[in-house]
Symmetry: D2
């Protein structure tokens, strides 16, 4: 497929425009979308290429709300420190904050959605009809994962050691909207059975339940991290607005710098977190 | 104000949590926000520290929808090329795209909102009561700006030379919601009178009208660029989802690389866009 | 270990300063380093915590020179497009370019160094004394890798299909400096034997030989990508300096945008590169 | 100028390659540059499009060494926090650190070089022949700047209140190499005369003297920030290598998070640093 002058054509289903019309997703942006489609609805549509139902939108936005801001996270502090150093570049501060959205923190949402999808993909025959069936599927999966020496994503939380308040609420919203699908049911079952395998009870965390809910919405699990990043972009904007009103970046920086202690170079000192 | 152990306290109105509760903006995240507050509503709240009304939310989300994606912009292409090179880091591709959200492209929204606010700030006495009054205020401002050798932000568009379809639609939505305030009225007046000063008729562009509408919502004009970045984060997620389904990054890269022509080094060759 | 007021102490071997002295790596920055230590030498020292010998510095800088710029790569184009959109933020353009330094492009240097180290780590007994011994070790490794369905990093190049000119030159420099160690020898052996296993002859590429040389310098293989990023930072600065003198960003963007073709949304269209 | 198929040609003086040759700056990369040109030398060449002399290289590298790392700066902490959150993306951590290289911190180098150049550009007639002449020029410039209510970049330092040790050393190196040019002489004169205008004695800081020295090397003042970013890329690599050996990111984050104090939302609380 080529365009003018033998240059390859660049196909897209997203934004295109002519002198007097702007189209997005095949719709007329100003006539059909502005004022008629919500922002969360559009974000879903841009990725899934279909307009979500009101029920899907409610679950989707509940996830974005759950992930938007968790206070002074490393990513929020990084964004504020970047804004402190480069107040001329708001985009740089937001980008710096999003760059922390990797495997360790925001990654859980994606890892959990992917884990659940893989378990469902390798399951043969019809899905379980009752909790007992889901528990059996979950038990086999957790056992397999444990035997492989891997961890089950979505279990445990450094602060909410007993119970993550977001989990039952999101499951309830999905239930209300008729969207409590196989990923959420499997995740709930993992919550019931993991103690038998791991020997201790861990809470189903909020990042994990968000990944399960997004997967039940049919969104691509390879991009679930992206929704956490979108949610976090709103949170980071709030963090920077607050940094302008009531700065803490300078104090955060000085608290570290003033407690710096020179230690003689020694390549072998300390553990290497990567090993 | 200090916290434990003489460390400075770090005040925040955003996210805080305890072992069994997660709070955001002083609300209980799971009980009061998830499923009850929309994502756009929360984004507004995080910056303005007040929950927007349904009317404000509709105008605000219409702005985010208008700014989310404009197709193959330099920022969208940069995000796709970054994803091509580093598919292991979705956050890097989104961040790379947002980094283009600076003075030239996304900056218009912020520049226009700031320009309108400055004109209103330096205006003494009551605001105009009718279009004639707004036209007089606009004419004085455009004339002053022209005399200072500066440009009026929000005027003109490379593609929509006659008329930007987003402009009348957003003004209409603001009017419907009773939120067509002084920034929008002044912007409309600039649209009516600038030809008298500049000698040619330019359209009021979409980025500009978005800045005017956000300013009328009482959002801080120093952060208007941030809302364009939030909107763009959704668009970039769509661009990357599409890059996964139907890649164009490799073709875009090869089209440039295959047409590279070596030119002998010569420091003085070509204009320096900064001068 | 705690600092003042019960705040944790923050140990560092890098930069520290007092009112009248600035120290770096335990040295007096102005008295002992400025004008006496080269920049490449310092970069090595900052990571390895030991000053490299002149021979190590020569090999190290040869690697940085080899990796600095490869013309219109996706990362260079992304940096130029970002500079086009946000000329007010040079740091954003450099950062956007570096964000492409991931698994696919710059990753080869790191992957190759890590692969070679793993083969050497799992080898028992003394290292081979001659080429025949290295060939046997390489043959076993390539066979194992092939059987595991994985690829051998550092083999093959899209442009330099026969021979990558950087490879013999870097090996020669390492030989001259007495630094042609086990990683390079194993890499060379892979170049000799892989055809027996893979059925076709592939060149040892420049990124791979750089990874082998850096590993022979004793640098941490988990950070080899970082040296490629440092080298690329210089290249990106050159790209942006050229973008200022003789811009191509606008043409690159328009070439894509003008050949955009709207395609009806269809989630299943096209392959998903991740699967 | 067009390339194949009517696509625009993309001229470059940097990297180009064919199946069997890789060229950079018009040179054969492997035959003429690797092992023969230092990394700092190449970085200068990539921007200036001319190979620096050994003297220029020594001054240039002394500047890079001076700017590479200043310990726990906001940018170093941001990079470490980003690495803590996303250890899978080294490029993201380096990019996050560089994004702090803006107007407030790294900007001084660029601002100072630009300030000095502007003073020299507006000076008519031959340059001063002696210190008295330079003092007169500096006095006029500082007075003009003060009257305009602006500040003179390169004066003062939060830690080195009396004297920045880098300043005399860099001037000495430039003197040794015969490169103590008009920008440095003017900067030194500002150091002698500013007290007469500002009423207090401030030290000439290290970032400022680096900007002056780079300007005397004939490098484009609009890009001086870029050299600070290149230097800092090496420092950030050292910071992340140390974060792997002996992490402080988690402690830095927890020190802030554990001292978070919820404060009721109040848009007008606190000063707005932007006003």
């Amino acid at each position: 497929m080529t365009g003018t002058d033998g240059v390859p054509a660049f196909p897209t289903s997203l934004g295109t425009s002519t002198a007097d019309e702007i189209r997005l997703l095949g719709e007329d942006l100003s006539a059909d979308l502005m004022g008629k489609v919500g922002f969360g609805e559009l974000a879903f549509w841009l990725v899934a290429l279909r307009r979500p139902t009101p029920s899907e939108t409610r679950v989707f936005e509940a996830v974005l709300v759950a992930l938007a801001d968790h206070g002074f996270t490393p990513t929020a502090i990084a964004a504020r420190l970047t804004y402190l150093s480069a107040p001329d570049s708001l985009q740089g501060a937001i980008a710096a904050g999003l760059l922390g959205g990797g495997s360790r923190f925001l990654g859980v949402t994606e890892d959990c959605g992917g884990y659940l999808r893989d378990v469902l993909d390798r399951h043969e025959g019809p899905l379980p009809a009752d909790d007992a069936g889901w528990d059996a599927l979950a038990l086999a999966a957790v056992t397999r994962t444990r035997e492989a020496g891997q961890y089950v994503p979505g279990l445990g939380h450094p602060v909410h050691k007993m119970r993550d308040p977001r989990t039952p609420v999101l499951i309830g919203i999905a239930e209300d909207e008729g969207l409590r699908g196989p990923h959420l049911r499997l995740f709930e079952a993992i919550g019931r059975v993991h103690e038998q395998v791991l020997g201790r009870r861990l809470p189903l965390n909020g990042a994990g339940v968000c990944g399960a809910a997004l997967a039940d919405l049919g969104l691509p699990v390879e991009l679930l991290r992206g929704f956490a990043l979108l949610a976090r972009a709103a949170g980071l904007l709030g963090q920077i607005a607050e940094e302008r009103r009531r700065p803490i970046g300078m104090d955060a920086y000085l608290t570290v710098d003033r407690n710096a202690v020179y230690t003689a170079p020694s390549a072998d000192s300390g553990p290497d977190p990567s090993r």
